[in-house]
């Protein structure tokens, strides 16, 4: 046993070299496998990142083209009051002013209802999606009643109001009833407003 130990002691250095070679080879083999697998995962992540970025770039480019194509129209919307804070006081003030402008009898009464999230858009899916967002468009129904007028006077009144009010609306309902003193009109004008809360990236 002592002789056998002596053999190993005399060959200690080459045996150490052998152990080092085994360790080095194992490190090389398993290290390269580990490195290959790690880099493969990293590559897969990079590819997926690249795949995700490409449609993002396409979408941004489409956004830019869209902005370039409609920016003048959008600025007009801002000026007309469609985009930004709704000028609810201005709407009712202009209603009175337009009645006076077209010389209608002083029989105007109105109710401007609280703003509502849009629910009756032409495309229901987009309406539902947009209603859930804080910067979703809102509607404001302005009900007014006017007595002793003629149909044409009503139309003139609406034309004048549309031209001067700081906001965009559509006629939602209108009822004309014949009375001894003329027509009694009950109409609802639906104003639209779009908050400009969402800012472009970086601003």
């Amino acid at each position: 046993m002592i002789s056998a130990l002596s053999i190993f002691q005399r060959a200690r250095r080459p045996l150490n070299v052998l152990a080092g070679a085994i360790f080095l080879s194992l490190t090389l083999v398993f290290g390269s496998i580990y490195g290959r697998d790690t880099l493969r995962n990293s590559l897969a992540q990079s590819r997926s990142q690249l795949d995700a970025l490409r449609p993002d770039l396409t979408a941004k480019q489409q956004d830019l083209r869209n902005v370039q194509a409609h920016i003048e129209q959008f600025r007009a919307f801002r000026a007309q009051g469609l985009v930004g804070l709704p000028d609810r006081e201005g709407w009712v003030e202009q209603l009175v002013a337009s009645r006076e402008q077209v010389l209608l009898p002083d029989s105007l009464s109105y109710v401007l209802k609280p703003p509502q999230a849009m629910t009756d858009a032409t495309i229901p899916e987009s309406a539902a999606a947009s209603a859930a967002k804080p910067d979703a468009p809102a509607t404001h129904d302005l009900d007014f009643e006017l007595g002793g007028v003629h149909e044409q006077e009503l139309l003139d009144f609406l034309h004048d109001y549309r031209a001067k009010v700081h906001g965009r609306f559509r006629v939602q309902t209108c009822q004309l009833r014949a009375t001894p003193t003329g027509l009694l009109t009950q109409c609802t004008l639906r104003f639209f407003s779009l908050p400009e809360a969402a800012k472009p990236p970086g601003t």
Binding site: S3, N66, A121
Partner: protein
């Protein structure tokens, strides 16, 4: 050069082998020394062991060796080919003990050798190896004459059972007598059966003058096929070559071989280390090659990602210049186009109604209602298709509509026929309007109802029309018309 020390009873010879073969060497060897003994004290002993495994068998044989050769450490054992099944080969029971009972001589010789000893092989064992050639008979006398001596090794079934070194003059008659004497001994000990058969003899010497004498003694000379064409000048050289291969049967104790075995282990370790390194590099080569390729691809991907990010940043910068969020702009345009601009003007519909009523200037509108209907809302108090069993409109086919309804007042002086004609004219005019869908028709109600007169008539008869028109400018109402009740 490799060195071999040959120890005979009378002399000590140092031989060296290089490219030119074996030659005597004088002076100190320069390397490990293989030792071959050719001494009288060499002997074999066959033993049978119980069926033992591993360390038990080793201990048993070691005890047998110590019993047979108590005075020398130069002893070893051989395991001949076993007969029988697999278990017989795994745990053999037949062994040959061999020893050189000349410890003092060997210790002195090995101590006098300055170089490390590779091992000590008795020449009897080397001769036995030579005689185990497949082309030779299984029972064989191997005879090697030397000046003044004769070495005889007998193999039974290719297993060495006896070795002798005798002082025999180099004369054919004397040598044959010695072989016969050995044969008789084997017959007496019943190792060989008595009989008249010829006994094969492998003679490692010049056979001139021996064949006739041997034939007379029923000894048959056999030849080693590989040496038949060109026999060696000295038959010890093939034995020396055999010893250099370090075959089994080495008898020196481990302590004598420490340095040699350490050197061999060192060399083997270094060779193995080199092989492992090469194998490791080869094994990792494919992965490393893949790694290089993937690193290159990774760099390209990173570059692409950076380029796309730069382009995205550039596009975002351009968008920022307009001070508007694209989403807000998109919503504003959609809102404007879908909810405001696309709604048909009320003026137009009022004019269409006025035109339909213009045929009779005596008619008066009592009540007119114009309203936008959201998609899916049933117009003119129409019954729900789900309750009536009618097919519901296809999803997505519903569109915004404009509902127009009015109530008409007809002068009191109109008789029943004039009233019907007037109502038919109005309905006809309304149905002539493009894309108009008439949901309630006063003419139809009149045809299916009662004809009345007086105050009862005005209270019970209501001349009412209700219709829908497309609620989106430029869109026809065809789909709605097709699904009306």
């Amino acid at each position: 050069m490799k060195y071999l020390l040959y120890l005979s009873p009378t002399e000590r010879q140092l031989w060296g082998k290089d490219g030119q073969g074996w030659q005597r060497v004088s002076g100190e060897p320069k390397g490990h020394v293989w030792v071959v003994t050719d001494l009288v004290e060499e002997s074999f002993a066959a033993i049978k062991t119980p069926r033992l495994f591993g360390r038990d068998r080793g201990s048993y044989i070691a005890r047998q060796l110590a019993t047979r050769y108590p005075d020398t450490p130069y002893r070893s054992f051989l395991t001949p080919d076993q007969e029988g099944d697999l278990i017989g080969r795994i745990a053999p029971t037949r062994h040959i003990l061999l020893g050189v009972d000349a410890a003092e001589r060997l210790n002195a010789e090995l101590d006098a050798t300055p170089n490390p000893v590779a091992g000590v092989w008795p020449v009897s064992m080397l001769l036995a190896l030579l005689g185990q050639d497949k082309d030779l008979p299984a029972n064989l006398f191997v005879v090697m004459p030397a000046p003044g001596t004769l070495r005889i090794v007998f193999l039974k079934n290719r297993t060495p059972v006896l070795t002798r070194l005798t002082l025999t003059p180099n004369q054919a008659r004397a040598q044959v007598d010695e072989i016969i004497r050995t044969l008789r001994h084997l017959e007496n000990t019943q190792v060989v059966a008595r009989g008249q058969q010829d006994h094969p003899v492998l003679l490692l010497a010049d056979r001139d003058g021996l064949e006739g004498v041997m034939a007379a003694a029923h000894l048959k000379l056999v030849k080693l096929p590989r040496w038949q064409a060109a026999p060696p000048g000295d038959w010890r050289f093939p034995l020396f070559d055999l010893a250099l291969k370090s075959p089994a049967g080495q008898v020196a104790p481990l302590a004598r071989r420490t340095e040699f075995l350490a050197a061999r282990l060192s060399r083997a370790s270094l060779v193995l280390a080199a092989v492992i390194i090469v194998a490791g590099i080869a094994g990792a080569g494919n992965n490393l090659w893949s790694l290089l390729g993937m690193m290159n691809e990774s760099r390209q991907l990173e570059t692409s990602i950076q380029q796309i990010n730069a382009r995205i940043a550039e596009v975002e910068l351009n968008i920022r210049k307009y001070e508007v969020a694209p989403e807000v702009l998109r919503r504003a345009v959609t809102l404007h186009d879908d909810e405001i601009v696309s709604v048909p003007a009320m003026d137009l519909h009022l004019r269409l109604i006025a035109k339909a009523l213009a045929s009779d200037p005596n008619l008066r509108l009592k009540d007119l209602r114009w309203r936008l209907l959201a998609p899916g809302v049933l117009p003119c108090n129409a019954p729900d298709p789900a309750t009536t069993g009618a097919a519901p409109p296809e999803p997505g086919s519903e569109k915004r509509k404009v509902e127009v309804s009015f109530e008409l007042v007809i002068p009191e002086g109109y008789g029943p026929r004039d009233r019907v004609r007037t109502l038919r004219d109005i309905s006809s005019q309304l149905l002539g309007i493009e894309n108009l869908t008439l949901w309630q028709d006063a003419t139809r109600d009149l045809a299916s109802g009662s004809l009345r007169s007086g105050p009862v008539r005005s209270a019970a008869t209501k001349l009412f029309w209700c219709m829908t028109l497309p609620g989106i400018a430029g869109v026809t109402d065809g789909q709605i018309a097709s699904s009306r009740p």
